[in-house]
Symmetry: C2
Subunit: 312 residues, 2 copies
């Protein structure tokens, strides 16, 4: 009986690996280096070798493994193929076919890393017990994942959950990395919050502990918690953009919960409370009480979600 | 073998009924009056009697019917129950249980009317051949429906596809019928376009055929097609709101196609072209070419979509 599964999260520098019970218990986790040289052709053989070694070490037979789920930084087709993964130096890759062959036929399923992290948070994180959620990852950029009825919404072009590029301010004049103007990522990522801060500091006359020359999202939220009035203006601006956006997303998929993760979310409950104020202003009546919670799995969300791909 | 199915669209004044082959061919359609008196308790018996009569008339046995799909104007739970349907004078109603009993056990499934119309357009309308779409119905209000992987996204509170209440302009000062301010419905419904028009006409100095005292969405689009510069400003404003909103919805679910229906969409391709300009400005890179098309089924979308509920 299949009582184990593996969750593999392939990043540009390390591959995070997890051995799980199929009920979601994490038995072991480890990392290997991502060897991106030669078009990343060693990555899958390295992953396979590491999995087979772990099975041998733990005395786990092939029949005891329900499958291997893999998260990759790129668009994924039909849970099997990767269109392109720039950070891994991969072009089009038949990932599931290749890895299944290397693993003597153990079932492999693949997901985009941001989407898979959302699935992980649904399974054992901030959204545990739900079957639908919108996950927002506030990091250097803004990532996301949409889960409906327990499944990732991949989208017709692999852009399901690309909520960082929702155009929340058409009047914005600066360009986002994606080429558009006014993306949520320009307002709510770590760098986006700093950008908002610099705009506000440029016209601010009240005293503040913040210094436009040396500023970070963390410094802004720290000052906010200390009662700095300028920091409060910056957080309020960020929160209005994000809260409004969550309200719009809610009118589309109406999730059971919104889960906020990523480095910026380390600011904790004060961030959630600031966002909730604007979410509740703009959300559709029947969704105003949808919980907005912090992610729980941190960097492990990817391995949890990858493992969940191969568990019903 | 089940070769037939019924699609029933219950509205506040009439019940639209369709007899279909399970491949989607419409064999017969008719209407009955919606008797809303006495808390609408006659509605389901009337529907059942009409279906049974049609089966007798056509010589169709119970075993030849895969099921009866029903669209209702209200939130639906698990394809069986209706929370409330104000226009039918219904409170909570165990619709599927009741109608199955009246139909001697023929399978019944239920969906919200706007969502069911989206499913109909996916099956045999503007989205035929796809498995995912965002439908926008521009009528007195703005309705919608989201289809992912061939299924309606109902949402945790029945608010999936309530895109008319996406807050697209937080700076709006007038209230929507829902109580919020800045809803898409205030900008893109028939009444919303007139509202935008009155604002623009109040400050407009150029000559125009439009008259603020006697104006309609149709008059605005007619004038736009005739080259009226003021009408062009109004349509442009409407199109920016709707195109931007579609771009945001695309970042959430990334559908194969956007389908635009409802009375306002009678303006046709010029409306689509106006919206497309702003959609392509704001959509995420990989979604910029997602087609935006006109709905095809008009008032029959509901019976088609209801029938599809009971066809795999």
């Amino acid at each position: 009986m299949a009582e184990y599964c593996f969750g593999i999260d392939i990043g540009g520098t390390t591959v995070k690996c997890g051995l799980f019970k199929t009920d979601g218990e994490l038995c072991d986790k480890w990392e290997i280096v991502t060897r991106t040289e030669d078009g990343g052709k060693q990555i899958l053989p390295d992953v396979a070798a590491s999995i087979l070694k772990k099975m041998e070490e733990k005395g786990i037979a092939k029949e005891q493994v329900s499958g291997v789920g893999v998260g990759v930084p790129g668009p994924v087709i039909k849970e099997r193929e990767v269109s392109v993964a720039v950070n891994l130096h991969w072009g089009y890759t038949m990932l599931a076919d290749e890895l299944e062959a290397l693993l003597n036929g153990i079932c492999v399923k693949v997901g985009n890393d941001a989407n898979v992290a959302a699935l992980g948070e649904m399974w054992k994180g901030g959204g545990e017990g739900t079957r639908s959620l919108v996950m927002v990852t506030l990091g250097t950029g803004v990532g996301g994942g949409i889960i409906v009825d327990g499944k990732i919404v991949t989208g017709a072009h692999g852009a399901g959950g690309e909520i960082g590029h929702a155009c929340v301010d058409p009047s914005e004049t600066e360009s986002c990395n994606c080429g558009n103007k006014g993306c949520l990522e320009q307002m709510a990522s770590a760098t986006g919050i700093v950008r908002l801060a610099k705009k506000i500091l440029a016209v601010e006359t009240e005293p503040t502990v913040l210094n436009a020359e040396d500023i970070s999202a963390k410094a802004i939220f720290d000052a906010y918690k200390e009662g700095d009035a300028t920091a409060a203006k910056i957080v309020d601006r960020f929160a209005e953009y994000l809260g409004n956006a969550l309200g719009i997303f809610g009118c589309v998929v109406d999730p059971e919960v919104f889960v906020i993760g990523g480095g910026v979310s380390k600011a904790g409950q004060p961030l959630i409370d600031a966002v909730k104020k604007y979410y509740q202003r703009d959300a559709f009546l029947s969704c105003k009480d949808t919980p907005i919670v912090l992610a729980k799995l941190d960097n492990d969300a990817g391995i949890f979600g990858a493992a969940k791909l191969v568990v019903e």
